[in-house]
Symmetry: C2
Subunit: 187 residues, 2 copies
C-alpha cells in the first residue's frame, strides 16, 4: 500500500554535483547542487539547476561554462561545506584546502582532489520558478588513475561516489554491483 | 593524475527511472530511462530525456503526463527488461507480471510493485539532438508503507533504490549512510 507524500522533490538517488565556475575577478568558486543529471546523448549534455541569487548563477551566465566534480564518500564533509556558504564570503577552495584546476576546454575550474570531473559549455537556460535549469554540453570527462581498472574503465567500487537522498536529506555511498544493464533483463 | 575519457555521458550515480505512460488505445506502458533528475524546487519539477522514436515519447506528447517509478535492487531484472524491448511489440506490464495503477492526478499509470512513484504533468519540452528533454511538474510522490520509518520519512535502507552507472553500464545498489546534509560540513 502506498502513502502520498505530496508534491515534493524526491527521487532516489540524486547526485552530488560540485559545480565549478569563475567569478568576475577570476576567483574560482564551487557550490554543491543535487538537482541535475545527464539530459542527452548526442550532443552529450548535462543539466544542473541553480537559483539566480547564487554566485554560481552569475558566474555561469558570464563565462558560459561550468564544471561538475563528483566527490568520493571520504570527501563528504568538503562537499557539504561547499553547499553551506557563499563564495561571496570567501574562497571555498582555500577554506577546504582544495586545488582549483583551470580547465583547458571550458572557462571554469574543477576540483583537483575529486575523482571525476565533467567539463561543460553552457548551451541553453530554462527558467523554472525559483531555479534556472542550465543545460551544458559535455566537452570532456576526466577521472583519476586510481579510480580506473586495468581495461581503462571507471571502477565504481574504487571511485566510491557520494550520492544524495532528498528523502531524508542525507548522503549515502554507492553500494554493491547488481548486474549489467541491457543484459540481466534478458533472462 | 586525471585521465581524459572524452566527451561522454558519464556522471555517478544516474537514476533508474521507469517511465509510465498510456498509448493511444489506453494501454499502459513503461520504459527505462537513466537521463533525468529533479530540476527545480518550486514548482517541484523532474526531467526525463527520451528519444522521439520511442513509444513513450508519443504517449507523453499526447497525454501531457508521465510517472516515474523507482525500483528496489530486487527488481533490477524487471527494470532492465523494460529498457530492452518496445511497448509496440507487447504489453511490458503483462510480460513482467507488474500491476499498472492508474494515477488519479495525471493521465499516466505507475508500477504498483515498485516502492517509489512520482506523478508528473508535462510542463515543457526542450529539443537536445537525439533526445527530447521532458520537464514535468511533480503532482505527488507516493511510497510503500514498508519503505517508511515510524516518523513518516522514507527509510532509504529499506527502500534500497536501484541506481545506474553509465561509467560501466551496470546497476548498483545504494550503500551506507554517510552523514546528514547541511550538517556534516559545519565541523
Amino acid at each position: 500500500m502506498k502513502q502520498s507524500l505530496g508534491a515534493k522533490t524526491i527521487v532516489l538517488p540524486a547526485p552530488v554535483f560540485i559545480v565549478g565556475s569563475y567569478d568576475e575577478q577570476d576567483h574560482p568558486n564551487i557550490m554543491t547542487a543535487a538537482w541535475g543529471g545527464i539530459c542527452g546523448s548526442d550532443p552529450p549534455c548535462l543539466t544542473v539547476s541553480i537559483r539566480p541569487a547564487r554566485l554560481t548563477y552569475e558566474n555561469i551566465m558570464r563565462r558560459r561554462a561550468y564544471t561538475v566534480s563528483i566527490p568520493s564518500v571520504s570527501q563528504a564533509r568538503e562537499a557539504d561545506y561547499a553547499g553551506l556558504c557563499s563564495g561571496r564570503d570567501g574562497n571555498k577552495f582555500e577554506a577546504l584546502g582544495l586545488t582549483p584546476v583551470r580547465s583547458k576546454l571550458v572557462d571554469a575550474p574543477y576540483v583537483g582532489e575529486f575523482p571525476l570531473t565533467v567539463e561543460c559549455r553552457l548551451r541553453q537556460t530554462v527558467e523554472l520558478g525559483v531555479h534556472t535549469l542550465f543545460i551544458g554540453e559535455i566537452m570532456d570527462v576526466k577521472v583519476e588513475d586510481w579510480a580506473m581498472n586495468e581495461s581503462g574503465v571507471i571502477a565504481v567500487e574504487k571511485l566510491r561516489p557520494l550520492t544524495f537522498s532528498p528523502a531524508d536529506g542525507a548522503y549515502y555511498g554507492l553500494g554493491d554491483f547488481v548486474g549489467k544493464a541491457f543484459s540481466i533483463g534478458k533472462k
